[in-house]
Symmetry: C2
Subunit: 360 residues, 2 copies
């Protein structure tokens, strides 16, 4: 299967939806991919179930603060250089790349890398959504070493990091990212095809494209994109999607700190009565409360959507006065195991909320 010019916008929209407010601006990545397609390059998408057991797959992505990404546009060489650093460390070329997460720019970076290097992109990722930290990966939970990790910036600087600890990989790479200016591009968790089959959340690129298509089509037909999203997601491994709040943004506390975009957004209800909704984020939305009552919590996806069009709003573009619908989405079973919840459940973010999977 190939990704064509007509697919890119849908894929970006769907990736921003699954990205839970994070993952970085989807338009920048979309433009990078379109430029490659217009130059005649091709992007082949591979079903993970069809991977050769011994193939080498090197995921590629961007890390840092999405607020910084808006002002520090990539040159395009960074993810290529990051991947090359891993290839050099392994003494072997990648047979394919893939996303580390679904979300904004991080669904498109691997497409760009695939186009540039002429290698296919695997239709799977390691988060089934976006999470803010590198170790929050189904790859990690399933025993895949995180390093050698390549990391590069737009000035041509790069590093190849080695550690046997997933959290220290995140800690040191985040330090490098801060010193690189707040964003960086990386390649890590190099895997065999056998490992991808066992350790990834599958078919998330095509899922993102489908979600983007629903949002675009419902708008064109004057349909209700929220209802259509809920119906469609109920048929997928994510199981359930549900509107949990709608209203107007009345307060926004957003800082760029420690290499992340951190903050809380407050939404007053459409109805004019009842408690306001607060959503706390570390790049991605972590928890939504109505008053003191949790409405949804990680790892479930909390997406803030434009109230008219259902187009997802990433956290760096939230602003006062926006009318929004908040939608929560369940996650696939591989992301709800005890090991998974230790890696990216509420406690991993210092939240006191219990995780109760979203119900329909």
């Amino acid at each position: 299967m190939e990704i064509g010019l007509d697919d890119v916008d849908d894929l970006c929209t769907g990736a921003a939806f699954l990205g839970a407010g994070g993952g970085g601006d989807p338009h920048i990545g979309g433009l990078m991919v379109k430029e490659q397609l217009r130059a005649g390059r091709r992007i082949e998408i591979l079903d993970p179930d069809h991977l050769g057991e011994d193939s080498l797959i090197i995921p590629t992505a961007m890390m840092g603060a999405p607020t910084v990404l808006l002002e520090k546009i990539p040159s395009g060489e960074e993810p290529i250089e990051a991947l090359r650093r891993v290839e050099e460390a392994l003494g072997r070329k990648a047979d394919a790349t893939m996303p580390t997460e679904v979300g904004g720019i991080n669904s498109t970076i691997p497409l760009y890398v695939g186009a540039r290097l002429g290698i296919p992109v695997v239709d799977a990722d390691g988060q089934g959504r976006a999470f803010p930290e590198l170790q929050m990966e189904t790859f990690a939970i399933n025993g895949v070493p995180g390093t050698p990790m390549g990391i590069a910036d737009e000035k041509g600087d790069s590093a190849c990091l080695t550690t046997d600890d997933h959290h220290r990989m995140e800690w040191v790479a985040r330090g490098i990212t801060i010193r690189f200016g707040g964003t960086a591009y990386f390649a890590n968790y190099p895997m065999s095809g056998a490992q991808v089959k066992r350790a990834s959340v599958k078919h998330t690129l095509t899922l993102a494209r489908a979600i983007g298509g629903i949002i675009r089509n419902a708008r064109g037909r004057g349909g209700n994109p929220f209802e259509e999203l809920e119906r469609f997601i109920a048929t997928t491994s994510y199981g359930v999607a549900r509107r949990i709040y709608s209203g107007k943004i009345v307060d926004l506390d957003r800082q760029t700190k420690e290499g992340f975009t951190l903050g809380t957004v407050t939404i007053d209800p459409d109805t004019g009565f009842g408690p306001p909704c607060r959503i706390k984020f570390q790049n991605e939305n972590l928890v939504a409360w109505a008053g003191d009552e949790p409405l949804a919590v990680v790892p479930d996806i909390i997406a803030i959507l434009d109230a008219e069009t259902a187009v997802p709003i990433t956290n760096e573009t939230l602003r006062f006065g926006q009318r929004v619908v908040v939608m929560a989405v369940g996650v696939p079973e591989i992301m709800r195991s005890p090991a998974a919840l230790r890696q990216f459940g509420p406690a991993a973010f210092g939240l006191e909320e219990e995780y109760t999977p979203l119900s329909g």
Copy 2:
């Protein structure tokens, strides 16, 4: 020439003297070297003028806050791993190692590496003293690229950094060091023998050993080590050494911050009258004032010595009530060029003082 067990203490003492208060605790490095010698390993010292033009020399050292080094003892594998990362990046084994600076632990790390790997150590360095930042090297001034740079910690984590900018190498490596816990071990500025001959401050290991010997012997004989140091240094490329103050430490502001040991020490005069002496340091002593009048400034060496024994006191072991003599020492000509002063003169540290070379 070989370094034997009897040489190590003198070398450590002299390195601490030339280290201008920085360079890290000399005893830790001395113990590491003695352990190697007692295990039967040998340390061969090579005159830089006898190096083969095409030999590969990879300098090795420790970086970070000397205050942290006291509590975070090296495992010994760190500098070996750092050097290996550079060898891997270059696809070639080192023919020798050498110090990046003279000072405390950083004169002994290359001796340890040489003993462990069975390679000689070049009798030269890139600072002729110790400086706090990586780009403050005669190597840099003379066109030697700083990277590939290997950097490693005691947990087995490591990185190999590539950049074409000396200051960004420092900036990113310092960030990694902070995330590694405040100290790290590194290998950088890989050089040919031809480059070492052109770009280094020569014979500084043997100079450190000679200085340490003078301090030890004068003590034994009841001589005046300060006078003997001044007389001896006048015969070297450093040209001049002079006592600039003596008194008692009455105030000490010392913080571990941004990966450095930063602060100011204040000394009241022996004589009981006249202005106190303040010495400002960033790992190393940068400037000494009597009242508002500068007595000495970087790149000249400012050493704080025990008033009885002339044993140098490194800044992490300064304490209230110590009776000290402050000695200033000139630097060789290669360190006083306009390019050298841009790299490590007063302005490079944000100081407003003009550099006037110390006179006798």
